[in-house]
Amino acid sequence: MGMINVKSVSKSFGMKEVLRDINLDIEPGEFTAIVGPNGSGKSTLLRIISTLLRPNSGQVTVAGLDLNTKAHTVRQILGVVSHHTLLYDNLTAYENLLFYAHLYSITDYATRINMVLDKVNLTDSKDTLVRTYSHGMQQRLSIARAILHNPRVILFDEPHTGLDQTNSIILDKILQSRSAAGNTVMLITHDIKHALALCDKIVVLHKGKVEYQERTTQISYDEFASKYHEITNV
């Protein structure tokens, strides 16, 4: 069984069916990209896997743990970088991480905080209020927050949005280092080129269904772009 296992998951909001019978298996240490046009259900799928949302039907397991009964344990091994930074503007970077370190009951929090701040190149501005940070810096701090407890599984929801080239490169390095460290990484993105360059596997979600999945070594950019266009008409 994979690290993330999604079986026959469906999700509706009122009458609108957002996910339809999703089946997905992500192996331990695999770097998987989920791509698809707006409204295809990518973020909803991520919110379900991250325990923020409950599916109407189906089963999700992370590291063999069923989210329906072991959500608390799953949260200990899960890191999430979402659209929003989940940070507090009026706390410094260090205080934000200290807050989350306490929530995750990290005992050696000072060491861990300094380590992750170093990883995202924010050590020099750790005592600055987050409200004075640029978007790129906030996004990097958000990544530091997500990896603070050294999670085995990390979910990224369009982390490149709004980043300049420098921050985008830093982010790519972080993504690759997490994957190289053996973490299972799931990246939700619009950027097919980026996804093919970074990931081991690419999955196309369209109108709430998994329409296509392939290992990135098995397909070229042009082949995939053509397939993507065929599926999504985008």
């Binding site: 325990t51 409950r54 109407n56 959500a71 608390h72 009026n90 205080e95 989350y100």
Partner: protein, 245 residues
């Protein structure tokens, strides 16, 4: 062939399968209080808004109700509680304000904590702000109305009454936070539900300040305590369900 793995999840929420120890639980509560107070010490928006609002309401009532001493004594407690209730409602509307900007509430929901710790932390930090405002309002009333408000029993009923009001308010804020019209929704939900504790607190306060004996206000006093206890239970039992999507 194996049975389909499809299972309709009947549970209204994800279970917290691992209960933290009492020490861990209170450490998380303390962390949430520390965070809220730290932010407020920097912003000072809530305390200043509550202070200005309370002073305004007190002064407006003082000058609008240009009454003789006995009538003033009769209405003072009502005016005091109106000030408490409006100021607390203003404070309650800001309970999850810090979590709105970057959806930080989701950050807490993603962490492996007992969600009731969020409620307890949020409730205690809001209650601290309400008490600070009461510490300012009570001496102001003493000066403007000349009523002796420093009786231990009166102060106790103020603390118990505002405890229940803040408790219910914090719980209802967790419902209102998901709506687009949070500022309007909170009073609509809160005022009817909190009516028993407000009425009982006003009755108790009036009786205590007019020197009535215990038997004359014991029922109202007990109602305040029972209300507080019931809503502690209700909050702990329902918060998990209310806070999750």
């Amino acid at each position: 062939m194996m049975n389909s793995p499809v299972s309709t999840m009947k549970s209204p929420m994800y279970n917290n399968d691992k209960n933290p120890t009492t020490g861990q639980y209170w450490r998380i509560v303390r962390t949430i209080i520390w965070k809220d107070i730290n932010i407020e010490m920097r912003k000072k928006t809530l305390i200043s808004a509550l202070f200005i609002f309370s002073v305004m309401v007190t002064l407006i009532f003082t000058f609008a109700l240009d009454l003789d001493k006995s009538t003033r004594d009769n209405v003072a407690v009502g005016v005091l509680w109106v000030t408490f209730v409006f100021a607390s409602t203003l404070g309650l509307n800001q309970t999850f304000a810090n979590e709105k900007n970057h959806r930080s509430l989701e950050g807490m929901l993603l962490s492996p904590i007992d969600y009731t710790a969020i409620f307890v932390g949020k409730f205690i930090s809001t209650y601290i702000f309400v008490i600070i405002i009461e510490i300012i309002i009570i001496p102001m009333f003493y000066i403007l109305y000349g009523i002796q408000l420093f009786s231990p029993l009166f102060l106790l009923i103020v603390l118990l009454g505002s405890f229940g009001y803040t408790l219910v308010g914090t719980l209802l804020t967790s419902i209102a936070i998901r709506t687009q019209v949070r500022e309007i929704m909170l009073p609509i939900l809160l005022f009817p539900v909190s009516m028993p504790i407000i009425i009982a607190s006003v009755q108790c306060s009036n009786a205590i300040l007019s020197g009535a004996n215990w038997g004359q206000f014991s029922n109202a006093f007990n109602l305040v305590i029972v209300y507080d206890i019931i809503f502690i239970g209700v909050a702990i039992m329902t918060f998990d369900h209310l806070i999750q999507e």
